[in-house]
């Protein structure tokens, strides 16, 4: 019974946030002179209206889910990994190059590419973790800086050494992968590919890992109370490296799947301009780092984005209404962090702590 009430209570905040977000969106719609019901109906149709739009939304959600899970893991361990973008880009680049140059049958290429992507993203992220663990260089800032270095590096790689010279277009991109290395589509004629299944499996695995394994408990303990964790014999540095590797690895996986399943080549800017990394961070924040919640929030955010596109196609209301809704959602959710902060502060005062 208690479990049910706590589960329900944890749903109240996100739901309230969604309602407030939609209300602010409604104000924006009225300002541009649209009809609220009609616009939201178009938005719904654009996101879930038909089987095609539904699969489209899920395709967009796939990288967001994986990035969100990675960020969530780091959050749970108490680290702010803002470097998903760079980790994703490096993962995608490595996956693309591996799939292009690896000999052998398609399945081998595919698996090798995914592994390369995970390792590249993971190492880049673990590097930031190492800088923090070894030299106490703030992780939040280094991950932010490493993003730029990674994206410029990847852009250089596909503008010069690995540029596609076969096509007439002067785009900065690699050559296309061989068709045998493509992730198969789930349905004929739809954009949804096997990557979504991978994301779903990873979500469940992450949930089980955090909840039922010793390592998962250690991570939660490190994030929940670092002092208690070190008292319990947990080595912060080691666990930090490991969790940052997995966190970045998931971002790398997101990049690889996007390359193998949707774009079939690495295109400069194709992963950064849709803002997958920031959307992933938003999903995590929205769900309070709960793995399954993060996946649901990722689908919600993807639906807001694809729904916004549908809305723009069929009404005069601009796409940006959905980014306003997203921002309000997050602002409202950060007020939830406030709520728990005040609770903690009160508890601290009761225990006679000065701070």
């Amino acid at each position: 019974m208690d479990k049910v009430t706590t589960a329900l209570r944890s749903l109240v905040q996100p739901l309230l946030a969604v309602i407030v977000g939609l209300a602010v969106g409604a104000i924006a719609i009225v300002i541009v002179g649209g009809s609220i019901t009609e616009t939201y109906a178009e938005m719904w149709r654009g996101a879930f209206g038909s089987f095609y739009f539904l699969t489209n939304t899920l395709t967009r959600a796939t990288p967001i889910i994986l990035i969100g899970l990675g960020v969530a893991l780091a959050f749970r361990a108490g680290f702010f990994n803002m470097g998903s973008e760079g980790q994703m880009v490096l993962g995608a680049l490595s996956a693309a190059l591996t799939a292009i140059y690896m000999p052998g049958p398609g399945v081998v290429k595919m698996i090798a590419a995914i592994f390369a992507g995970v390792i590249a993203g993971g190492l880049w992220s673990a590097f930031a973790g190492w800088l923090d663990a070894k030299f106490r260089m703030n992780l939040l800032i280094t991950t932010l800086l490493l993003n730029y270095i990674a994206t410029y590096f990847a852009a250089y790689m596909v503008t010069y050494p690995f540029k596609d010279k076969t096509g007439s277009a002067a785009m900065s991109q690699t050559v296309m992968l061989g068709r045998e290395a493509w992730l198969p589509k789930l349905f004929q004629g739809m954009t949804l590919h096997t990557g979504f299944l991978i994301a779903a499996v990873v979500t469940v695995l992450m949930f089980l890992f955090m909840k039922h394994t010793v390592k998962g408990y250690e991570i939660r303990m490190l994030g929940g109370n670092p002092l208690f964790a070190s008292y319990g014999g947990i080595q912060r540095g080691k666990l930090m490296l490991a969790s940052m590797f997995v966190s970045g690895g998931l971002a790398g996986l997101a990049g690889s799947i996007e390359v193998l399943g949707t774009q079939y080549r690495f295109i400069d800017g194709a992963l950064t301009s849709p803002g997958y990394a920031w959307s992933g961070i938003m999903a995590t924040l929205l769900a309070g780092s709960h793995p399954i919640g993060t996946a649901v929030a990722a689908i919600l955010i993807a639906a807001l984005q694809t729904g916004g596109m549908g809305m723009e196609r069929n009404t005069d209301v601009p796409l940006e209404v959905s980014s306003i809704i997203q921002a309000v959602l997050i602002l409202f959710v950060s007020a939830k962090l406030t709520y728990s902060f005040i609770k903690r502060k009160k508890a601290g005062a009761k225990n006679g702590r000065a701070l």
């Binding site: 800088l131 280094t142 250089y156 940006e320």
Partner: protein, 307 residues
Amino acid sequence: MDGLFDISLFASALRTVTPILLAALGGAICARVGLFNVGLEGMMLVGAFTAIVGNYLTGNIIVAVLFAMMCTLLYSLLFGYMSIHLKANVIIVGISLNFLALGLTTFSLRAIFDVKGAFYDKSMKGLPKWEIPVIKDIPYLGDILSGHSALVYLSILIVLGLQYFLFKTVTGFRLLAAGENPTAARSLGIKVSRIQYGAVLLCGVLCGLAGAQLSLGNVTMFTEGMTAGRGFIALVATMLGQSNPLGVAGASLLFGFMESLSIRLQGFALPTHFTMMVPYVVTIIAMFFFKDKSYMQEARKANESSR
């Protein structure tokens, strides 16, 4: 290589540096009171957009800049309310304000001007270029230093003013104390949250000016997301400059110079990626040497209570 480094390169560096410098100074003030402001990007964007709106509606450039400052002030008030009053995580508030700014400006672009992508109107005048009487006649130096918009010169004055304010006035010391050790400051009767609000609002004004220089300085137009990461570059300049106005100015100059150099290299069809990368690498190396700074610890604290 002869054509690579010439006078116009330095002159363009000075122009590109101004928006970054102004925003970075705002970030530095916030960092000094213990608020790590990730929302510079969004504030700058609001400033850039409202400067164009003010210019379009009134046709008066001074009113336009003041309007931009006002609007960014209000926007920064939201940052202050969320992070100081509600004690929400500063970094998350900053991130979401960036999103909100991007959404709001693009939306308003559509709602006010009914255009998508960019707004440009021939009747709008940009910031006037000032020729400085004596300096403009000095060979070389004159070409670099003269002929910029008023905001470029204003930013230099602001750097000096802030340096004086922070390290030579009583209020400046109080501000530093509020950031250094809030508990001790409070016990001396310093109103810490009032000082924090003041710093955030000042940051808003500076970001408004930065945005105005961006949209009215070199070009007179607004494009969606025209800050293009400059707010984050400003944030990095703040860190590299150790939140010290003169240091921030130096760091911003490095960033501005590298950006101009990259644009120049493009003209020579040389790879620009590594020159663009240099400031970030330098910042990481600098972080290795300057650690235990109070604002870093503040960021760390915010970082660790982020679950």
